[in-house]
């Protein structure tokens, strides 16, 4: 559940960022496409990083074993 919600949050952030980049620097269709590509790539990279770390911790095979003195 947390996974889907956060994925949705990432996509919403991505859409907002693309809209912002379209508003702030609107420089013709080819430049706009470039900016859109950059924003989407950044969003996808960030989401992948988060998703990998999240899924890896969903059903872990080992647990933290505290060391002495903690």
């Amino acid at each position: 559940m947390g996974f889907l919600v956060t994925t949705l949050i990432f996509s919403v952030v991505g859409i907002i960022a693309s809209i912002c980049s379209r508003i702030c620097c609107n420089r013709g269709p080819s430049a706009n496409l470039l900016h859109l590509t950059l924003v989407i790539t950044a969003t996808v990279c960030c989401w992948m990083m988060w998703a990998i770390v999240y899924i890896a911790q969903m059903k872990p095979l080992i647990v933290p074993i505290l060391s002495e003195g903690e």
């Binding site: 947390g2 956060t6 496409l33 790539t41 992948m48 990083m49 988060w50 899924i55 080992i62 060391s67």
Partner: protein, 820 residues
């Protein structure tokens, strides 16, 4: 499929994706407007001239004289600059910018200035020399008077002669004017003396030499001079010693004079009479002060001249540089048969054609020429240069890509994705949000001072750093993000996103050190759970996580690379490449490593205990065996066999068909052409004699086949090695994390444990230095380098050819400051 292809074809073009469309143009310029036309084109800066006279040596070219004149003028300008810096003046720019001079006027002016300066310099040199000699004479007089007893042995006549000699030697004549004059030979006592001045460092050897030469029959008195004298050769002040040598005999005198000359000691005559001495001292002093004023006036006059030159110096230098560039370009053009026009060829981007025609029209108008300049498009055989229009931000990334190889004309530019993926991969290896904040501060400082730093001349390291300031900015932002994900702030985890998902099994936490905590709720919402830091099982968990993450990121980037090759094939309308290269490559990579990524994700989602190494290896060794414990999903065995077969088919699919089909296409295209090569060479000369057209119509099948084989083997083996190469993401991030932990725990915490303030301060200082130099500088460079390698090799070798050449237009703005 059709719809997807149509959609892709109809997408608007993306800015940086492919290089600008270029065209080869030919210019026919009448001679009177040539210079002006080239200057205006230089200001526009969008045409790369082709050298049509490349076989000629520099001395055979048309405008060699003008180039020589420009070289001569720049030599003069360098001379002025030298003189200005030697005189210690600051060069400033005159607030009023004067109108541009013509080249001939400038030449005359420069010659005048140079002549004037050289004359002034020579005069002041002579004056300075005379001044030095007089100064030395004064010092000799001061000290030598102390040695000499007033003696009555000299007649009045001698004194008069001496005085006359002293006076007559004050003109600006040869340097050897003040050597010892003839002393009266009829000396009753026979004891004479020579007085002079010598460098302090040579005085001892001088004395010894004199002693030996005169066999000890001499008396040597010396005293250090009060002031330092300027050595004319080195321009430094040296200490001198005044000496007086008493001797007898003519032979001794000649010997002593010769030794003085050899040691560079200067001899000055000192009269015996005390009143004489005083008189001469007064005269010398007054002469000295006269000379000083003259010298000062001379220097001021020269400085004034230099300052007035200095006002215009930068303007003149840039003018001369531009003229030289214009003449160099004019040298690349050819005279046509009528010798009235110059013909030139060059590459220019298509969007600039209108601007260029307008500039050429202006040039025709300004030079009052009757004929217009002809500007028309030509066909080209060779490949055009590559030109990307970048701005401040994308320039650094384009340079990073170009450092490996300039893109082929109009092939897909990896810089588009490198803008984001390069800082991202850097951050995966650097992830620590404390260090990221430090990098961010550095990047912001560089960007805030952009306007100031861009005009200064920076050292090579600072220049690289400044050029990459936007790369650094993105790197730092992504590092902060990855640091939050890895949950490391100078290696310390924080509970920013809520409580940890792990807790003790019971209230006493008795088995926390043996069996560990348990997970009692959903995973930590963002990033690595803070409970892992410091636990004994931290490394096994993180290693497993980071290795699998590296594989997933790597497979994603390699797929992106292969998809780029699809876009390239589509753009160049090479369906052969799509069917026999793109498709088998995708199948091969994804049936093996895409499948591995899938297994990783399934294992994570289901929490199975399957051993993925085992699964992958036995997929090849014994694919039909029962999987047993390693079964992750139903039908896995069947799927594995299918994927293995697909991979096996993909290899010959990418190896064999393409060369054969190419051969068939070639023979279809040039069927029957082989008969036409005899005796029809005249028909080919409808083109200009200089532009080359090659008729390379041989198809070397073995060469093509070997090329395809190398390509396929490279891909197949590369699939394994490149995927493994992505594990450096894990390796470097582990190294960074461990270094960070060591510095934190073993330096800072250790020092903080003591009560003493000094030890804590030292600990803090060592921690700061270690963080700044090792983690921030060395690790940044290291992660930068490895991210660069991953892009250059693993990403780009899936689609990039990189064998183009860069567009270097003739532009005044790009003329570098060759400051010598």
């Amino acid at each position: 499929m059709e719809r997807i292809e149509k959609f892709i074809d109809n997408l608007p073009s993306m800015d940086l994706m492919r290089s600008e469309k270029m065209t080869l143009v030919q210019l026919i310029i009448p001679v009177e407007s040539a210079h002006r036309a080239i200057s205006y084109l230089g200001e526009l800066g969008l045409l790369q001239f082709r050298d049509l006279n490349s076989e000629k040596s520099p001395f055979q070219r048309t405008f060699v004289n003008q180039v020589k004149r420009c070289g001569e003028m720049s030599r003069k300008l360098r001379f002025f600059k030298d003189q200005i810096s030697k005189a210690g003046l600051l060069s400033s720019v005159h607030p009023v910018v004067e109108p541009d001079l013509e080249l001939e006027e400038l030449e005359i002016q420069l010659a005048e200035h140079e002549h004037e300066l050289i004359e002034m310099n020579a005069n002041s040199e002579k004056l300075q020399q005379t001044y030095n000699e007089l100064l030395e004479f004064k010092l000799v007089l001061q000290k030598a008077c102390g040695f000499l007893l007033p003696s009555n042995n000299h007649a009045a006549a001698e004194e008069r002669e001496l005085r006359e000699n002293v006076f007559s030697n004050n003109d600006y004549v040869e340097t050897s004017s003040l050597l010892e004059q003839e002393m009266r030979p009829a000396d009753q006592s026979g004891l004479r003396f020579i007085s002079g001045i010598i460098c302090k460092s040579k005085a001892l050897r001088f004395e010894r030499m004199l002693f030996r030469a005169t066999r000890g029959n001499m008396l040597f008195n010396q005293a250090p001079a009060d002031e330092e004298i300027m050595d004319p050769l080195t321009g430094e002040m040296v200490e001198k010693t005044v000496f007086v040598v008493h001797f007898s005999g003519e032979q001794a005198r000649t010997k002593i004079l010769k030794i003085c000359e050899a040691f560079g000691a200067k001899c000055y005559p000192v009269p015996d009479d005390i009143s004489k001495q005083r008189q001469i001292t007064r005269e010398v002093s007054s002469h000295l002060s006269d000379l000083e004023t003259t010298l000062d006036t001379g220097i001021r006059h020269r400085n004034k001249a230099l300052t007035s030159i200095g006002y215009h110096l930068t303007q003149w230098m840039s003018m001369v540089r531009r003229e030289k560039a214009v003449y160099d370009t004019l040298n690349m053009l050819n005279f046509d048969v009528t010798k009235k026009c110059l013909v030139g060829e060059g590459w220019c981007p298509i969007f600039a054609k209108a601007q260029m025609q307008e500039a050429l029209q202006r040039a025709t108008f300004d030079s009052n020429s009757q004929l217009g300049i002809i500007f028309h498009v030509m066909d080209a055989v060779e490949s055009p240069p590559t030109y990307f229009r970048t701005n401040h931000f994308t320039n650094a990334y384009q340079e990073i890509v170009d450092a490996y190889g300039v893109a082929r004309y109009q092939e897909a530019n990896p810089a588009v994705y490198t803008v984001i993926t390069f800082p991202f991969l850097f951050a995966v290896m650097f992830g620590d949000w404390g260090h990221g904040i430090c990098l961010l501060l550095g990047a912001l400082v560089l960007i805030a001072r952009e306007s100031r730093l861009s005009t200064q001349k920076l050292g090579s390291f600072m220049e690289m750093l400044f050029g990459g300031r936007y790369v650094l900015l993105l790197m730092s932002l992504f590092s902060i993000y990855c640091g939050l994900i890895y949950n490391e702030f100078f290696s310390v985890p924080f509970h920013i996103f809520g409580d940890s998902a792990y807790k003790c099994r019971d209230a006493t936490c008795s088995d926390a050190q043996t069996a560990g905590l348990i997970k009692f709720r959903d995973p930590y919402p963002f990033g690595v759970d803070p409970s892992w830091r410091g636990s004994r099982s931290e490394l096994p968990f993180l290693n497993s996580l980071k290795m699998k993450m590296s594989i997933l990121l790597g497979v994603a980037q390699m797929n992106l690379g292969i998809i780029f090759s699809y876009f390239n094939a589509r753009f160049f309308c090479s369906s052969l490449d799509i069917r026999y290269q793109f498709v088998p490559q995708m199948i091969f990579l994804n049936s093996l490593f895409g499948y591995l990524s899938l297994l990783i994700i399934i294992k994570w989602c289901t929490g199975s205990q399957a051993d993925l190494y085992h699964v992958m290896i036995y997929m090849f060794l014994s694919p039909t065996d029962d999987l047993g414990d390693n079964e992750l999903f139903w039908g896995q065995r069947g799927l594995q066999i299918v994927l293995l077969l697909l991979a096996l088919i993909a290899v010959p699919w990418m190896l064999f068909p393409k060369p054969f089909i190419l051969k068939k296409l070639h023979s279809e295209r040039f069927q029957g052409r082989t008969y036409g090569l005899l005796g029809t060479s005249e028909f080919d000369l409808d083109v200009e004699p200089d532009s080359a057209r090659q008729h390379h119509e041989e198809f070397n099948f073995s060469e093509v086949f070997v090329h395809q084989m190398i390509h396929s083997i490279e891909f197949v083996l590369g699939a394994v090695s490149n995927t493994a190469s992505y594990l450096r993401l894990w390796a470097l991030s582990l190294a960074h994390s461990e270094l960070s932990t060591v510095f934190y725990e073993k330096v800072l915490l250790l020092a903080w444990g003591y009560d003493s303030f000094i030890i804590r301060l030292i600990g803090l200082a060592v921690f700061a230095f270690a963080t700044a130099f090792i983690l921030l500088m060395m690790e940044t460079l290291s992660a930068f380098l490895h991210a660069l390698r991953l892009h250059w090799v693993e990403f780009q070798n899936k689609f990039y050819h990189g064998d183009g050449y860069k567009f270097k237009p003739f532009s005044f703005a790009l003329i570098t400051d060759e400051d010598d």
